[in-house]
Symmetry: C2
Subunit: 194 residues, 2 copies
């Protein structure tokens, strides 16, 4: 589908790093040669402001890695509390042992115009990334670098380049995974002056 | 000083990644040739479980970078709500323009036995890291990799390898920076079964 979900609005590229700056767990989506997949990743971060870049750690055993390396593209989707169970599910099951894992965990996809990577519905942020090939990092550290070429956010909770979790439904708070099925959701805002 | 602050207890190395897994903003401390410094960094993440490794982005303009490259060591300190103003302060001032920035922002240091890098008091987690030299990453992306050789946490809030923010004072909740002086503190726990 090419229609954007309700509330999904473009984010200017110079503000895209803010979707990841507070350290949320992400869903990595990818597509190649008619296949697609979604996995969870707690290890991702912004790498640069302009052009915006990100890093993410992707294990060699994952189907996602083959799709990313095949197509040269991936997307980081920022899930929120409403997707906690699905995030744990696609992070626990592998495409190899559970080929129906997306259906099983209720993951629904959409694809904006001009975006070849499927994105995950009901997330609150999305970053489409072009892989920056760095074979040494990929082989030695499972570390992938991407340049963000488009970004979107849920306009109910990301407004004028700022997260407004305090004003939105609790189900839109981002997820921060620890281990063993335990997440924290993001909490109160603190606005300070230097 | 070599005495550990109250509550600061060793964390087994196989659990050290959990100090960073939920994406907190960190304070980077370093020391070389009689000088030391502390800066804030929102862009850090775990890179491996065993041996535990981390990544952190450190700008070329920082004094911290010179100290890290000089000594080959650095530490990631995980500040909490009680240190929010100090975290913003040492993240905004530079050692070049404000040589007294640590005193100015009330940052106090301690140094455990056998740890050559000063650590920041009143944090809730600490990771001592040996720089893994990767000149291409450092030069091209300002990206530094470290292997964690020792870790500690505040035993009031990190218990048996798990954060227990819900049972501890609110001032011990970790900080998650966005931009423009705005942080979020970590919120509620969600414990799910796969």
């Amino acid at each position: 589908m090419t229609t954007l979900p309700a509330f999904c609005t473009p984010v200017p590229l110079d503000k895209a790093y803010r979707l990841l700056n507070h350290g949320p767990t992400v869903l990595v989506s990818s597509s190649h040669a008619g296949e697609h997949n979604v996995m969870a990743a707690a290890w991702s971060m912004p790498l640069d402001f302009s052009p915006p870049k990100v890093t993410v750690v992707i294990d060699k055993a994952t189907h996602t890695r083959a799709l990313m390396e095949g197509s040269g593209w991936f997307a980081l989707n920022v899930p929120a509390r409403g997707l906690a169970q699905a995030t744990l599910g696609v992070g626990s099951d592998s495409a190899a042992s559970a080929p129906d894992k997306l259906q099983r965990h209720g993951i629904q996809l959409f694809q904006p115009e001009g975006c070849d990577v499927p994105l995950v519905q009901d997330c609150v942020g999305w970053l489409l990334c072009k892989l920056v090939p760095e074979p040494h990092n990929q082989q030695t550290y499972d570390l992938f670098i991407g340049e963000v070429t488009q970004a979107w956010a849920d306009a109910r909770v990301f407004v004028n380049g700022h997260w407004e979790f305090d004003k939105a439904p609790d189900d839109l708070r981002t997820l921060h995974y620890v281990a063993g099925g335990q997440f924290f959701v993001i909490g109160d805002s603190l606005k300070l002056k230097a």
